[in-house]
């Protein structure tokens, strides 16, 4: 497709729907138009009254505090530790419960010098991102990607390889060279469990689970110097004092932007955006979120689940209610999603028994093309899931629709993972700039490795060389709350959200407790 033709289709993408967003009225990116679901969280009260937190009573003290427990966080912790820091990881769920674990596709790096180089990787990244990406960040990314991949190899990640050690690689949407490496169809799981295992070998990395951060703490010099954690089970708030902080809290699928279903992890609730923004870090590219074109729209039990693009790589077509093909293959994800949505708006979608609409993904085609049994052997996981629900996807096509998949933007940083707040580093999905307005498949796993490592190293150096001792403060939170009041925002909303609430109205109307004796939960 030409770039002009892509633009024409993109008008149907949810990001381009003006009624889906509004201006944020406070904070360092005041006036920026982003999805209501993000604004709702940013224009919300703190979970805790900053005046009630006694910052002189420190519960944990460390050199580097890592907030988050996924790939970027764990990799940052490893490298910070290697650079001499004592590290504390504070995470909301279990260590490793994150979108990283769910990544199926692969990890991009230019590794085959006879046909590929960082130059081509760069072009693909910026082309996918509509040429708006941050050039410094992209250059650092493509240059360090091979080294990052080699580091994973040295840790024992089982990449799919030829017998002589040569890495398998395939195309992803928007790549001009086959540079997406993988570990069967469990790339994220394999990377996550390996780096987590390595973190458990390091005596200087401690992990606090079920203890999300709810506010960052600064010191009197304006440096980031810790965080307030919330123990979700005992409902205590705890003070961590640190010399540098790495925020790697991941994405936001559970906000269900514009009512979309999501592929994301239970904990993907944009917490880091809220924390960083209140502390003074501007937003970058948060006006775009990624919808994966092929999410399950029926049956309802597995709604939102991702159907890997590999079905289409093997020959499954996308067709409308009339059985007609309408979409080009291997376009970037935003273009594909927009095209699906257009087809449904044009009345060519397939109505589902649950009152939704989708398009067909022709899985039985694989048995026709490659011989009987292909779906059952090549996609056994998905076949089993559908089979339990009474659908044989080797005989019946799947119903799919775009599903909320990735937060393209986030907190603004630079190629060194530094933010507007000294001592505060960010890495992974919580950041914005690398992917511009649209991420390519296989670049999020590499994102967490390249920038996890950079953030870890720089935070350790900051902790050692630049961090100053000083009085801890939550003044920035009070200022933010004051700003909200002055902007006329009176609300009961509290943020960060921590966990999504799926309580049904029928249950809610029977939850009659007058007043909770504990906290806001």
């Amino acid at each position: 497709m030409s770039l002009e033709a892509r633009q024409e289709i993109l008008r149907y993408h949810p990001d381009y729907k003006e009624e889906g967003r509004r201006e944020i009225k406070v904070g360092p990116s005041k006036g920026y138009r982003i999805a209501h679901e993000f604004v709702d969280l940013l224009e919300a009260r703190s979970r805790v009254d900053p005046d009630k937190v006694d910052l002189s009573r420190v519960d944990y003290e460390t050199d580097v505090l890592v907030i988050g427990g996924g790939g970027a966080a764990t990799i940052a912790a490893l490298i910070a530790e290697e650079n001499g820091a004592q590290v504390l990881i504070a995470t909301k769920l279990r260590h490793g419960d994150a979108n990283t674990m769910m990544a199926e596709g692969g990890i991009q790096a230019a590794t085959k010098g006879e046909k590929d180089s960082p130059y081509y990787h760069y072009l693909d990244v910026v082309g996918g991102g509509h040429f708006k990406n941050d050039p410094d960040i992209v250059a650092a990314f493509v240059k360090q990607a091979p080294d990052a991949l080699q580091w994973l190899e040295s840790l024992g990640v089982m990449f799919s390889k030829f017998p002589d050690g040569r890495l398998d690689a395939m195309h992803g949407g928007g790549t001009c060279r086959k540079r997406m490496h993988y570990c069967a169809d469990l790339s994220g799981l394999e990377i996550m469990r390996t780096v987590r295992d390595e973190a458990r070998n390091r005596p200087n990395i401690k992990v606090l689970e079920f203890s999300p951060a709810v506010e960052l703490i600064l010191n009197e010099h304006g440096q980031c110097a810790g965080a307030v954690l919330y123990n979700m089970e005992t409902e205590e708030y705890l003070v961590v004092k640190a010399k540098a902080v790495i925020l790697a809290t991941g994405g936001a699928g559970r906000l269900h932007v514009q009512g979309f279903m999501t592929t994301n992890h239970y904990g993907a609730t944009a917490d880091g955006i809220v924390l960083g923004y209140r502390a003074g870090v501007p937003l970058s590219f948060l006006h775009t979120v990624q919808y994966h074109p092929t999410g399950v729209v029926f049956p309802e039990q597995i709604e939102g689940w991702l159907i890997t693009e590999r079905f289409r790589s093997e020959g499954s077509d996308i067709v409308n209610v009339n059985g007609e093909k309408f979409v080009n293959e291997r376009e970037p994800r935003d273009v594909e999603s927009a095209r699906f949505i257009k087809e449904c708006l044009d009345g060519n979608g397939v109505p589902t028994p649950t009152g939704k609409v989708g398009v067909w993904l022709d899985s039985p085609m694989l048995d026709i093309l490659h011989g009987e049994g292909r779906v059952r052997t090549a996609f056994v996981g998905k076949w089993k899931v559908y089979d339990r629900l009474g659908i044989d996807i080797s005989k019946t096509p799947m119903l799919v629709y775009p599903t909320l998949h990735y937060q393209n933007g986030g907190l603004k940083d630079n190629a060194e993972c530094e933010t507007a707040v000294p001592g505060l580093y960010v890495a992974g999905e919580v950041t914005g700039g690398l992917h511009g307005e649209n991420r390519l498949m296989g670049n999020s796993l590499m994102d967490i490795v390249v920038f996890g490592r950079i953030a870890g190293r720089n935070a350790a150096v900051f902790a050692r060389e630049r961090a100053k001792q000083g009085k801890l403060t939550l003044k920035h939170v009070k200022t933010y709350l004051k700003e909200l009041k002055e902007a006329g925002i009176i609300t009961d909303r509290v943020a960060p959200m921590l966990l999504p609430d799926y309580t049904t109205p029928e249950v809610k109307e029977k939850q009659l407790t007058v007043s909770y004796l504990g906290t806001l939960r």
Partner: protein, 220 residues
């Protein structure tokens, strides 16, 4: 309805026992029974459709023994695993682990492979392991199978499969600064020029084999 949808529907809210909701994180290992059936069944809650009369318990965490090790110092000899996990030989081959695996892994076979010193086989057999711990919860010999498998996979990945030589070569070239200048040029480039380069870039065909070479080699 699957449990992560069903329980909130009934008014429960998860803190422990819910993760990716897609069957890969291992947070929601579950045991259940159905009335009149002696057999204890296992599942991942997020993958299990709720059935009438079933009664279940989530096991979001099971305490296990995990050995600490310096990975850089490990070799690929089987004795490395034996030293770190001597309890491996407490396995009585009862196969309860395999029956408890929601991933359908031949857990006992993988343990047997380890006992025989076949790290590669253990790594391959256990590749789909999501470390939910249900095998461990049922183990008569009190083995932490999933930690042993993790060790086996790492040794296999780093010490048994050959290293990718083309990767090492590319790392050498990037670290020597071979691409610094063209990347700098790309960084400075105006959007229109970038768009032109993007649209003109040569695409490796989908069906191309490993021997495919581009015609333009200036930027390699």
């Amino acid at each position: 309805m699957k449990s992560p949808k069903g329980l909130p529907y009934a008014g429960y809210k998860f803190i422990r026992g819910c993760g990716c909701r897609g069957g890969t994180c291992g947070a929601c290992g579950t045991v259940y029974r159905k009335p009149g059936d002696y057999k204890l069944q296992v599942a991942l809650a997020c993958q299990k459709t709720i059935e009438p009369e079933m009664y279940m318990a989530l096991i979001p965490f099971f305490p296990t023994n995990r050995a600490q090790y310096e990975f850089a110092e490990l070799t690929s000899v089987p004795e490395e695993v034996f030293k770190l996990y001597p309890e491996l030989f407490r396995c009585v081959a009862c196969n309860a682990c395999t029956k408890a695996c929601p991933q359908g892994i031949e857990v006992m076979d993988a343990i047997s492979a380890l006992k025989q010193g076949n790290i590669a086989e253990a790594a391959r057999l256990s590749f789909d392991c999501i470390q939910c711990g249900l095998c461990t919860s049922r183990c008569f010999g009190e083995l932490a199978q999933y930690h042993m498998f993790q060790l086996a996979r790492r040794i296999y990945g780093a010490r048994v499969i050959p290293k990718a030589e083309h990767l090492a070569e590319m790392v050498r070239k990037t670290n020597e600064g071979r691409y610094d200048q063209i990347l700098d040029e790309l960084k400075q480039m105006k959007k229109d020029e970038l768009k032109k380069l993007y649209q003109e870039r040569e695409a490796e065909p989908m069906a191309a084999g490993e021997d495919w070479k581009p015609t333009d080699t200036r930027y390699l």
